[in-house]
Amino acid sequence: MAIVSRGFHGRRQPSEHRLPPGQYEVRDFPVLSAGPTPRISRDTWEFTIVTETGARHSWSWPQLMALPAEEPLVDLHCVTKWSKFATPWRGVSMDTLLGDVETEADYALVHSYGGYTTNLPVADLLDGQAWIAYGYDGEDLAPEHGGPARLLVPHLYLWKSAKWVRGIQLLLQDEPGFWESAGYHDYGDPWREQRYQGD
């Protein structure tokens, strides 16, 4: 065992991680909420993608569990300026879920149980950038963090990673979601510090 004086290390700082502009690191996992926490039973849970033609592709909880799972280890960046490094998730890639969906849509509006919505380009859901996550740190995803399942899109500010996800509406035109229609940026890239409209 190496003998290391903690005093020379100071605050533990994983060197492989970088902070976007204006962010600071946290070690806990803050919970922000725009309303009460929905309590969704896995027995009735359903995830549905609705295309621009109205075609619906739905997955029950057992059907989601039957799909190949991935375990992304990602950094999170919240628009309220905290960042959390190396968060361990388990979920299904959106590439898998969108794989058989025929669409010409460029935009997505994500819907959550409880009424929350958020929008992003379809391109940001593809190529290994997004998951429907149902596990965190080896456990079932807790309701306060979006369980039973949430969208995980870690390259955008965390408000885009909709908790309690219910479905995704594919659209030919962009439609702002809950925070995007109340002053927050339409895209929300933390590396370009796109917090508010006009940033």
Partner: protein, 121 residues
């Protein structure tokens, strides 16, 4: 439309039944909720005073979801980050949202039919 706190309705419960959400997922609002942490509408007094000259917490609004009329102070307020979200205490609909960022404030009151503001004559 659903109520944000406890949803087990009994025979004396006069709350309106949940209304289907607009859009492709009409069941997304028809869910039970865990108790959430919120403040009453007096929490809006400071942030709104940055915008309006009068204290709006006593002003009476009408919820577009269930028709309930009451003062801003009765709303259930979640936040403050990413923004303040004020919900109807009876049906849970979002009545008011206030985001303060940079050099601007965004105020959305689409959940309210009107606001009656008492003014000294």
């Amino acid at each position: 439309m659903t109520k944000p706190s406890q949803h087990a309705q009994d025979a004396h419960d006069t709350r309106p039944p949940p209304r289907p959400a607009p859009g492709p997922f009409p069941d997304e609002l028809d869910v039970p909720y865990l108790d959430g942490e919120y403040e009453d509408g007096n929490a809006l007094a400071g942030p709104l005073s940055e915008i309006f000259a009068v204290d709006l917490t006593a002003a009476e609004g009408r919820c577009t979801g269930c028709g309930t009329t009451g003062p801003i102070a009765r709303l259930h307020v979640y936040g403050p980050a990413p923004g303040l979200v004020a919900r109807c205490p009876d049906c849970g609909q979002v009545v008011l949202r206030l985001v303060r960022g940079g050099d601007a404030a965004w105020l959305d009151v689409r959940g309210m039919v009107s606001l009656r503001i008492r003014i000294e004559g």
